[in-house]
Structures are given as C-alpha cells and as structure tokens.
C-alpha cells in the first residue's frame, strides 16, 4: 500500500496516457468548442464567462443611458434558502441553475423558463451541514460540450457539499457518473465550482477550518477516472513540483518547502484548500488558482512559512505539475485564505506588453503577475487602511509585515485590517478590457483576534482563535455599517479610478459590459448598475434577499438579459442563516453583520432582467398557458 505522503501526487502512467490520448483526439476539440461557445453572447459556459475569467461581456444593448429601464423579466426560486453563490450557466438556449445545499440543479429552457426542463435533486448526507464552515453554499456548475467523436453526451458538473462530484447529462439531467471526492467524516466538503479544461473537470476542496489538507483533482469527464491529484502541502511530488518549478523566480522558493516549512507532520492537516475561482490560458496550457490558509488559525501552533498554502499557482492542465507558485502570505496569522478570483488580461505596463493574471487577495493586496512565468508585476493595497503590511518587496515578493498587527498566543491583536474576511473574499470580480479597469467587490472590515490552543480531531473544527469583526476605519463603527467598497482599479498605474462605500459589502462580485455599465448585488439585497467609467449609480433593484452571487449576462432572441442570484448567506450571512446572536460566533461574522437582518432576510433564487422587462411572456402572454380558450356565458 502506498504511504500517505505519496497519495495523490502519484499519477499513474496509464492515467497520463489517457489524458494525453484524450488531448490528441477529442479533447482539444472540446476545449476549442468551449472557447468558441464562450464567444457567442447567447452562451455563458463557465464561471467568469470565458477562460480569462474576466466576466466581461461584449454585449452593449444595455448602456449607461438606458440601464435605468432595466426591469425584471422573469424569476425562479430554487426552493432552498442558505446563501446562493456563483451564477447560472447558459448553453444553447438552456439555463443551468445551481443552488445551496443540497445542491439541486435545474435546467430552464429560455424559450419558456416558467417550466422546469429538468431538475436534479440529490439526497445528501445531512451531516455535511455540520462541517461546512461558512453557510451551505455552492459556487456554480461547469459544462463540457460533447465532441462528435465521443458517445459521451454534453455534461453538466455539479459539486456537492457532501464531497461528491456528479456529471449530469445536460439534455436530460440524468446522472452520468458520480465520484467521491471529499469525505465529510474528516471535515472535507465541496463548495467550489467545478472547472472544465479540455476533457478534464478540475475539482477544488473545502474544509481548512477543520484542518483539511487542500487538494485539487482532475477527472476525465468521459470516464470519471482521476487523471491527477495535487495537494497544497507535503512532498514535492504530491504538490506537483518538478525541476522547472519557479525557474523564473527562484526567490519565491522551489523544492522541498511543502515539508520544510512545517514542523513535523503538521502539513498533513495544514489546510490550503481551494474553494475559489480558476482561470486558464489555453496558449500556455496553464490553470491559475490559489490556495487557502494554513491550519489552525492559531499561528503559534504551526511554525514555518507553511508552504504552499496561500499561493497563487499556475499548473499544467494535463498533469497538474506546477509551473510557478507565489506565496502571498507566508505563515498566515489572520486567515487570509487567498483563493480569490484570477482574472487574465493582456496589458501594457511600464511599456511592456504583458500577459497578466490579476488577483485581489484577501490579505489586502491586489497582485498582478506575469502569468507566463510568475513575475510579480504589481502589488497594491486594496485600500489605504490596510495595516498588517507596510509594503510588498517587489524583488523578493515578500510582503513586509507590520509586527504590531501580527497575532500570537497570549496576545489579543486589535484593530487588525483587514479582518479574517480579508479586504476581498469569494467575490468573482470582472475586468473591462476596453476601459482597462478591474471592478472589485471589496470588504472593509477589521478585527480583534485572540488565539487559543486546541487539539486536532479529524472532522472537527480546528480554528483556535476568537474574533471580533467590525467596519474598517472608513465605516460607521458605532452602527456596524460601511463594511464594504466597490472600486475600479487600473493595474498599469495601480490607481483606483473610482471607489464607493457599501453598507455591507458586495460579497458576490461584479459583471462588466461593453455597454459601459457594471453590475453587482449587495448583501443588503440591492442589485446595482453603475457607470463603468465614473462609478455613478445608474439603477438599482431591491431583490427578495441579499445577493452573494455574481451577475452574468446573455442574449436570447436578440435581447440582452442580465441575471443574478439572490439568497443572502455565505460567511457574512451565518448569523442570519443560523440565527446566531453571540458577536464572536460564526468566526466573528455575527458581530460584524449584526445589522444585516434589518435589510434583508433569507431567500434563494434567480432574477433575470432586461430592458423594459421584455421577455418570453411579454412577447407572448399566452405562452405556457394551459388553455387560451375563454368560455363565455357558460356554467
């Protein structure tokens, strides 16, 4: 039997052969097809719209001038409460809706969305609820377009909180395959959206608050076979570190650090999950995503830089080997779990045309790196109130700490900015290439933090810190308001073209459109449209419940629609969702968001908007009527 530390890093020759074989036949086609499909505004085929994950739409029917006429066209409730994250997919005239636990999946035919085309309602082990750290969320679905050569149908992938990954027949909703990817008995869950690259579906992991060792797994979509599995910590082969890792930036660290930066076997329960977002560059064949915090939160218990938690990773799609990795927060002391969104852009910076990946991190810094080799290009504060760092040493990549705001046993850290929620958490942001602006959904929350000792028991929470969270210096601390910002950031000059405060934060993320309007939902339940250039608020709508998903847009029958989930929850919503009162409960979220309940209540569904509310039923009021026959003067 293989020893624990060799699991997962090990890739069987046959698996690699299979993956490569796939590449040579249908796989590259499937990938090309996804890329082609993403270009069609009638589709929205993956999280973030296309592989750049910039969530930017070329559509411009909705403009800064007419967005004031945006109205609800139709709606859909998922039948579930708990936070609704992510955004629906639209493929070939069908919308695929994900939902919170138990992760029902719905297909709606856009010709008549009032009738459900199919629904998949998995029965899940309710014990999953008890090990989810941050409400019972799910960040979305993935789609794989069948290649004609293959008998495999078009597939929809759904990750379940209880650790299962299911592939569904996109046409019928029937289960095609279902694997066990995470074991809730050891605290491992799934909230991340699956991600399709070629004939692989990439699956992240959750559960670092329970000491789960983060892992990323690629399955062959056609056979459900595991093609590669890579960890955040441990031996190099299990992490996917080979000889050319970080060649361009050896100062980031190279071999052996997944063991050397941990005391003894602590890496086995060291966290570094990945429950956030991905991007992919087909020309480089690299997948970009980042790893979460080391565990436990009590830093004193785990000496070392704790590599490769907190790391932006660029992995080869076919074998999962790391091309480069940059650890943003070595030896995290604040839960700055940096799994945040990765947005790919090509921009000229300091005179050079660069292929970039931009990442607004939880630690209060927005990073832009050369996505080819990992060079650090920019590292700017998300807000001038960040106090844990003085700056980032651009040569070494080291964020220089202000030890004043470090944490340690027998010490209560105060006024630490950002808080554990970071200045940016799970929001999926957007990038407008015409305007060169990133639209960032930023938290403005600081904290007090006091560690305590606790033992590790598989399947139990393994945190070890008591938190109080409250608005940052620009907020209203007396009333616990002003907990967020929305900002338009320009990477080349590190400037914020515009910024505006939000009452409770735009937790879900933003959508950018060529029409010059950017959209986002807020925790307190508004769906807002702002002028992309100026930030001016042009329109808003009060949704049934707070929004923690991110908006998407698609065209149907020549009309541009904008869709967004409502359903408050996520980490900031745990007080509301689980009816908690103690301000330090919910890892400190309850206190910070104590006033959220005065603006919104739970819900769970989808709103679809269009100009004047135009839609299938305004076009034909008799659509989906059981009978159009009106009997007169009868009995």
């Amino acid at each position: 039997m293989r020893r624990l530390h060799s699991i997962g890093g090990y890739v069987s020759a046959s698996c690699v052969a299979l993956a490569l074989g796939g590449l040579l036949t249908g796989a590259a086609n499937a990938n090309d097809r996804l890329i082609e499909m993403a270009k069609n505004p009638e589709n929205y085929v993956m999280p973030g719209l296309d592989y750049t994950a910039d969530n930017y739409s070329e559509m411009d029917q909705i403009t800064a001038e007419n967005v004031k006429d945006l109205r609800v066209a139709w709606t859909f409730s998922t039948g579930l409460l708990n936070g609704h994250e992510g955004t629906p997919l639209v493929v070939d005239g069908v919308m695929y809706v994900n939902s919170s636990f138990p992760n029902n999946v719905y297909a709606l035919d856009l010709k008549n969305p009032g009738k459900i085309k199919w629904q998949y309602k998995p029965k899940q082990d309710p014990a999953a609820r008890a090990v989810a750290c941050c409400d019972l969320v799910n960040r979305g679905l993935a789609y794989w377009p069948s290649d004609d050569a293959s008998k495999t149908p078009n597939l929809i992938f759904s990750n379940q909180l209880d650790g299962h990954v299911v592939a569904l027949n996109a046409e019928t909703g029937e289960m095609y395959w279902k694997v066990e990817n995470a074991d809730i008995k050891v605290g491992s869950t799934l909230t991340v959206a699956p991600y399709v690259v070629k004939d692989l579906v990439i699956i992240g992991s959750s559960g670092a608050e329970l000491g789960v060792r983060g892992v990323t797994t690629a399955y062959n979509v056609k056979t459900a076979e595991m093609v590669w599995r890579r960890f955040a910590t441990g031996p190099d082969d299990e992490i996917g570190i080979g000889d050319d890792f970080n060649k361009a930036n050896p100062q980031y660290g190279q071999k052996g650090l997944g063991l050397a930066t941990w005391e003894d076997d602590a890496w086995k329960i060291g966290g570094g999950t990945n429950w956030g977002w991905y991007a992919y560059d087909p020309s480089l064949d690299l997948i970009y995503y980042a790893r979460a915090t080391p565990r436990p939160w009590n830093e004193t218990m785990r000496p070392g830089d704790n590599k490769w938690t907190m790391t932006i990773m660029a992995r080869n799609a076919d074998d999962g080997m790391l091309k480069w990795g940059y650890q943003k927060t070595p030896h995290d002391e604040w839960d700055y779990a940096g799994v945040n969104v990765m947005m790919l852009s090509d921009q000229k910076i300091d005179g050079k045309d660069l292929k970039l990946v931009t990442h607004p991190d939880r630690n209060g810094i927005i990073y832009t790196l050369n996505r080819v080799n990992g060079d650090l290009v920019r590292a700017d504060f998300l807000d001038d109130t960040v106090n844990v760092w003085t700056h980032v040493d651009m040569k070494t990549g080291i964020p220089v700490r202000n030890p004043e705001y470090g944490t340690r046993m027998e010490h209560k850290g105060k006024d630490i900015c950002p808080s554990a929620m970071g200045y940016h958490d799970q929001a999926h942001d957007s990038y407008d290439p015409e305007r060169g602006l990133f639209y960032l959904a930023i938290n403005h929350i600081c904290m007090d933090w006091e560690p305590f000792m606790l033992p590790y028991r598989a399947g139990q929470f393994f945190v070890g810190a008591t938190l109080s969270m409250y608005p940052g210096p620009k907020g209203d601390r007396a009333n616990y308001l002003g907990l967020g910002q929305v900002k338009a950031y320009s990477a080349p000059d590190g400037k914020y073209k515009w910024s505006v405060m939000e009452r409770f934060a735009a937790w879900g993320g933003t959508l950018a459109t060529k029409g010059g309007v950017m959209f986002y939902p807020t925790l307190d339940g508004y769906f807002k449209a702002r002028n992309s250039d100026t930030g001016e608020l042009l329109w808003k709508f009060k949704m049934p419940s707070g929004g923690i998903g991110y908006p998407m847009t698609y065209e149907h029958n020549g009309t541009q629609y904008v869709a967004v989930y409502y359903g408050v929850g996520g980490w900031p919503g745990v007080g509301l969702v689980f009816d908690l009162q103690d301000p330090t409960a919910g890892l400190g979220a309850v206190g910070a968001f104590r006033n959220l309940q005065n603006w919104t209540q739970q819900g769970g569904g989808l709103l679809v908007f269009s100009l004047d509310g135009k839609g299938p039923y305004s076009e034909d009021v008799n659509l989906d009527e059981y009978s159009n026959e009106i009997v007169t003067d009868g009995t």
Binding site: M1, L4, I7, W177, K178, V179, D183, V186, V212, V215, T223, A224, M226, N249, Q251, Y252, G253, Q254, T261, E263, D264, D265, K268, P296, M301, R302, P303, G304, D305, K307, P330, H331, I349, N370, D375, V377, R378, A379, D380, F381, N387, T390, H391, V392, D393, M394, K395, I398, V400, R401, N402, P403, E404, G406, R408, M409, H411, M453, P455, A458
Partner: protein, 98 residues
C-alpha cells in the same frame, strides 16, 4: 520582472512610524529568510519548535492519518466504479454491486 516598490502614502507613514517602535515581540516582519521561500522566524519569546513547548499541539498520529486513509479508500472505490463504467457504459455507484 518589475521590482518597483509600491506602497501607498498612508501605508508608508505607518511603516515609518513603526520603524521607531519596532523591537521585542514586534520584530518578525517576514524579511529575514533562511532560504528563498523560507522566511518565518519565531516571534521573540516564542519557540522555534512547538513540540515539547507549552504550545505543543500534541498531534495524535492516528488522527493525522485519517484524511489520507479516507482519500485512499475513496480513490479505490472510484477506480472500481470508473473501470466498470468503461466496461459496461453504466455507472454503478454502489461498489458492493461491482
């Protein structure tokens, strides 16, 4: 590689203020590296190694092994399922039926 140091005015002011008060428990700033990518140091008064110290997490190797064991078992079951799937074209989840 761009190497310009980028800090905001406000943060700079903070950094300067800090330089004056730094010392003692405040010394660890992350820049004092043993090797590339290995820059942690214990905070003054805290141990380099926690094993045996009052901060010893006293990890139980049995607990530490559970995640890995569970994963091995899941992988084995999944392998059986996909093997059968490739053969039969039908997905059978219940491995006892394979």
């Amino acid at each position: 590689m761009t190497t310009i140091l980028r800090i905001t005015g406000a943060a700079l002011a903070g950094a300067l203020a800090l330089a004056v008060t730094a010392g003692g428990a405040l010394a660890y700033d992350g820049t004092n590296c043993k090797a590339p990518g290995n820059c942690w140091e214990p905070k003054p008064g805290y141990p380099e190694k926690v094993a045996g110290s009052k901060y010893d997490p006293k990890h139980d190797p049995k607990e530490l092994a559970k995640q890995g064991d569970s994963m091995k078992e899941m992988e084995a079951r999944n392998a059986k399922r996909s093997e059968n799937f490739k053969k039969t074209g039908t997905w059978v989840y219940d491995v006892s039926k394979l």
